[in-house]
């Protein structure tokens, strides 16, 4: 019990540090790909601390609540996964974390914010089926919705869920706000929709959104690692490689339209994932 509590505290405190370092690495890597030197590795920390020193400008009092919920549900997701609890619940809390931001963005009378929110919700529509199929795939493999069950596998998930993994990588690109899917609020292109969904959040509230993004980066890469659970170090290496690849794709791709994104996600990655799920159903020990 105490051990688990310590683990939770460690993850809750450590995840944003790791997430921030990853984001710092992202900025350096992006700069190098563009022939620049880029900011220091610790730049995301500076940005975050600075934002908490700034004046908390708002348009109304409603939007503040949703930014808190954004962080709270993300923390909840992280803790649920850390404790090895129900993955589907974690998925829904994660979705609601994003949804909080969407609703918060819609609660202000700002056209940029609204358009950003609508694009964000299109993103959710695009990737959510893939994430649910991911959880279904893991269930079919482990026979349980508990995230903890993954740890007891004898062979890594990647051996039975290769196509789901590929589909998840595309979803990851959306979740990390990378091109060609960075339509709602681009993490690097600050001019796109003038930051869209986050535009009306200033100072500490923007800081909370950044903080949540650090948690999310950690969470998503932890999911990548989970595919290699029997070989954790290999998993970490793959996660780093995946992150690098995401940055590469970000730098070589143009931004695409939201409708294209939904059409693409509901065809190629979903089809891949479904195909993989069918494989699992065909195995004799799976299902009813």
């Amino acid at each position: 019990m105490i051990g688990r509590l310590v683990l939770v505290v460690l993850v809750v405190l450590g995840a944003p540090l790791l997430g921030a370092l990853l984001n710092g690495a992202d900025r350096i890597l992006t700069a190098r790909m563009q022939g620049r030197i880029g900011p220091p590795l610790l730049q995301p920390f500076y940005d975050l601390l600075k934002l908490f020193r700034k004046e908390p400008l708002v348009l109304n009092r409603i939007q503040i609540g949703y930014v808190y919920l954004h962080l709270a549900f993300m923390l909840m997701t992280i803790v649920l996964i850390t404790l090895g609890q129900d993955m589907l619940l974690a998925l829904f809390t994660h979705a609601f974390s994003t949804l909080s931001l969407v609703i918060g963005g819609m609660s202000v009378r700002s056209p940029y914010s609204r358009i950003g929110s609508q694009r964000k919700i299109m993103q959710m529509l695009a990737y959510e089926p893939v994430l649910i199929l991911l959880v279904v795939g893991i269930y079919l493999r482990t026979g349980s919705f508990m995230a903890g069950a993954v740890a007891h596998l004898d062979a890594p998930l990647i051996t039975s869920l290769p196509l789901v993994f590929l589909a998840f990588l595309v979803a990851l690109e959306i979740k990390l706000e990378k091109s060609p899917f960075d339509v709602a609020t681009s993490h690097h292109a600050h001019q796109e929709l003038v930051k869209g969904i986050t535009i009306e959040y200033a100072g500490p509230y923007l800081g909370i959104i950044e903080l949540t993004h650090f948690y999310e980066t950690f969470f998503l890469l932890a999911l990548v690692t989970a595919f290699f659970v029997t070989h954790v170090w290999l998993g970490v290496l793959v996660a780093m490689a995946v992150y690098g690849a995401a940055i590469l794709v970000d730098n070589v791709c143009a931004r695409m339209r939201t409708t294209w994104m939904v059409r693409y996600m509901w065809t190629v990655p979903v089809a891949l994932a479904v195909c993989n799920i069918i494989w699992l159903y065909l195995q004799p020990h799976v299902g009813r």
């Binding site: 808190y68 609890q85 589907l88 299109m122 649910i132 279904v136 919705f145 009306e200």
Partner: protein, 632 residues
């Protein structure tokens, strides 16, 4: 204490008598008192009966002829209404039903099984509670609503007296419907609810209302024929006269026909059009009949029968039909901007999910279906009432017109937002039950895909609406909202019920629904039982402290809020500031204009007129494949 027979009599009789009294009273004030008293009494009887339950009663020899007489009477009334409206197809269907009833009466062999006429078990208890408590609240709300409504209703509107006769009486027949085990009594109450729905949809008497009422009557008469045919075939093939008889005999043919009847009542595709048309009725009617109770009768019927047929191919088709309705109705809800139509499609969609879960027929699916049934009834009833109040105030049902409502009608808007959040936010019951539905749908891969697609689309249309509703400028102070006490009190009570019950969803699951599913599926395989336990085994509930902390942090921030931090939105610096905090910008020719972004509806991609025929075609194919069992 009352005897079980008295309880049944009271559950059916109290609202009926109350309705007749309300109709008899010519003064509005007295009628309001009568209606409120009846509602209170009904709620009381409902709760007491459920506490006294479970029980079953077997009526004497008088029961069958009485039921037949009532059924003939009802068919006669339907024929009379249809004749008057020159709706020959309905007349034809009613006559076919008449023929079926009479054939059954005079040709059936000896009735072998003596079974209870009325049963109050856990499933019907849940329905009785929904009908008596939520129904009573809606009826009380209706007293305030109809007073306002009368002020600007069209001249053709039927009187309030008939309205309350049908609305209050409906509670009684709905109770009868969920208690009935005997097929003939079931048919009597089934037809009565059809008739109530017809009368209430046509309440305003406009051409549109009359046409939609007839459409509802037509489709439900079709369902009535299926029901009577089921009764006839059940009696012919095994002397079965009751629902539990069908279950114990595993009679597939009546089951298939009852499923079709249930799909008409629950407005599943391809029978959905009547429920969309039913939205012309005054809002309390939509809340009571067309979301909280009457449309649940269909899914209730499938839920009651399905456990006995677990594992049959028939149920696979039913599950597929339900899943299809869930996904396609959610997709069409995305394209709607009329709030009541969104609610109607969302209702159809959720009923589809219940049917899908009932069709999967594992303990977990059964539990999920019951959870959705309860939580949907409460939340959707509340939402309809809220939309009614909003419509009375702003004179529009369009979601795009609902911005700034937080300032003009704060109470209603906060309650509406709570209602909508309970539809999709963890830890409220709807989300938890949807989670269980997905976990259960693993057993049926095709349904699973439909459920996943439907869930994603569901989030989409709710988020749009929530976003629009709470768009608000900064106001230092909010005015008090004026609303009749009967309306505001019901909204507050129902909202508290929805929120409280929603938060306690896991507790409800563990203490009530899990044992019930275990009891119903006594012989289920070990791994489905394990799945049932696993779904409720939410050891991690303390993590919900995070959203709670967020809420507290929000309150704390608001308490120390400094108005100096309020700014205008970023409009490229072109903000137009004539008076304080204007949200306009300076447009062409220095004219102020308001930046306005509509929500996404995809009216072209998800064109209702284009998609519906194809969806109906697929759904008809599924219905026809249900009929395949007739050859057996």
């Amino acid at each position: 204490m009352l005897t079980p027979a008295n309880y049944v009599l009271a559950l059916i009789g109290v609202p009926l008598v109350g309705g007749v009294l309300a109709c008899a009273v010519p003064w509005r004030g007295v009628r309001t008192v009568v209606v409120c008293l009846t509602a209170t009494l009904t709620a009381l009887v409902g709760v007491l009966a459920v506490i006294a339950g479970p029980f079953s009663i077997t009526c004497g020899a008088w029961s069958d002829p009485t039921a037949l007489a009532l059924e003939l009477l009802l068919i006669g009334v339907i024929v009379a209404f249809a004749w008057e409206a020159r709706a020959w197809l309905i007349v034809l269907l009613a006559l076919v039903q008449l023929g079926l009833c009479l054939t059954e009466q005079f040709s059936a062999g000896a009735h072998l099984l003596a079974t209870p006429t009325f049963i109050l078990d856990t499933l019907s208890s849940i329905l009785v509670i929904i009908v008596c408590v939520i129904g009573a609240l809606i009826v009380v709300y209706a007293t305030g609503y109809m007073r306002e409504h009368a002020a600007h209703a069209p001249r053709t509107t039927a009187g309030d007296r008939r309205f309350f006769l049908v609305l209050v009486g409906f509670l009684g027949v709905m109770n009868g419907l969920v208690l009935a085990n005997n097929l003939r009594w079931l048919a009597v109450f089934w037809e009565s609810t059809t008739l109530c729905s017809f009368l209430l949809i046509g309440h305003e008497g406009t051409a549109e209302a009359r046409a939609n009422a007839l459409r509802a009557l037509l489709i439900n008469a079709f369902g009535g024929v299926a029901l009577s045919l089921a009764a006839l075939l059940a009696a012919h093939r095994g002397g079965i006269t009751s629902l539990d008889g069908i279950m114990s005999a595993q009679a597939l043919v009546p089951m298939a026909l009852l499923c079709i009847a249930a799909m008409t009542k629950s407005a599943q595709f391809p029978f959905q059009s009547w429920l969309l048309g039913a939205m012309v009725a005054p809002t309390p009617v939509s809340a009571l009949l067309h979301s909280a109770t009457m449309v649940k009768a269909g899914s209730y019927l499938i839920l009651r029968l399905a456990p006995a047929f677990a594992g049959t191919r028939l149920l696979d088709v039913v599950a597929l039909a339900g899943g299809f309705t869930f996904a396609i109705a959610a997709a069409l809800a995305v394209s709607q901007s009329n709030a009541k139509r969104v609610l109607a499609y969302s209702t159809i969609s959720n009923l589809g999910l219940i049917v899908a879960c009932a069709g999967i027929a594992t303990p977990l699916a059964y539990a999920a279906a019951i959870m959705i049934l309860c939580y949907h009834a409460a939340s959707k009833g509340l939402l309809f009432l809220c939309v009614g109040a909003i419509e009375q105030k702003i004179g529009s049902r369009d979601i795009e017109d609902m911005g700034s409502l937080l300032y003009t009608m704060p109470l209603t808007t906060v309650i509406t937002l709570t209602g909508m959040l309970t539809m999709l936010m963890p830890p409220f019951g709807m989300l938890m039950s949807k989670l269980m539905a997905i976990e259960a749908a693993i057993e049926a891969p095709f349904v699973l895909l439909l459920v996943i697609a439907g869930s994603a689309l569901t989030v989409f249309f709710w988020a749009k609406w929530i976003g629009r509703m709470q768009t608000v400028s900064y106001h230092p102070h909010y005015p008090r909202e004026t609303m009749p006490f009967s309306m505001s009190s019901v909204l507050v009570v129902l909202c508290a019920l929805v929120a409280g019950g929603g938060v306690a969803s896991i507790l409800v699951y563990r203490t009530l629904i899990e044992p019930m599913a275990l009891h119903t599926f006594a012989t289920a395989s070990a791994h489905t039982i394990a799945a049932l336990h696993a779904a409720g085994n939410l050891l991690s509930w303390p993590v919900f402290v995070f959203p709670l902390l967020a809420a507290l942090a929000w309150l704390w921030t608001i308490a120390r809020f400094n108005p100096a931090h309020v700014r205008l939105p970023y409009l490229a610096g072109e903000n137009y500031e004539e008076k304080e905090l204007s949200y306009a910008f300076l447009s062409i020719k220095d004219q102020p204009a308001v930046a306005w972004t509509t929500s996404l509806y995809f009216k072209h991609t998800l064109n209702e007129l284009r998609i519906t025929p194809w969806a109906n075609l697929i759904a008809w194919l599924l219905v026809l494949s249900l009929l395949g069992v007739l050859g057996m």
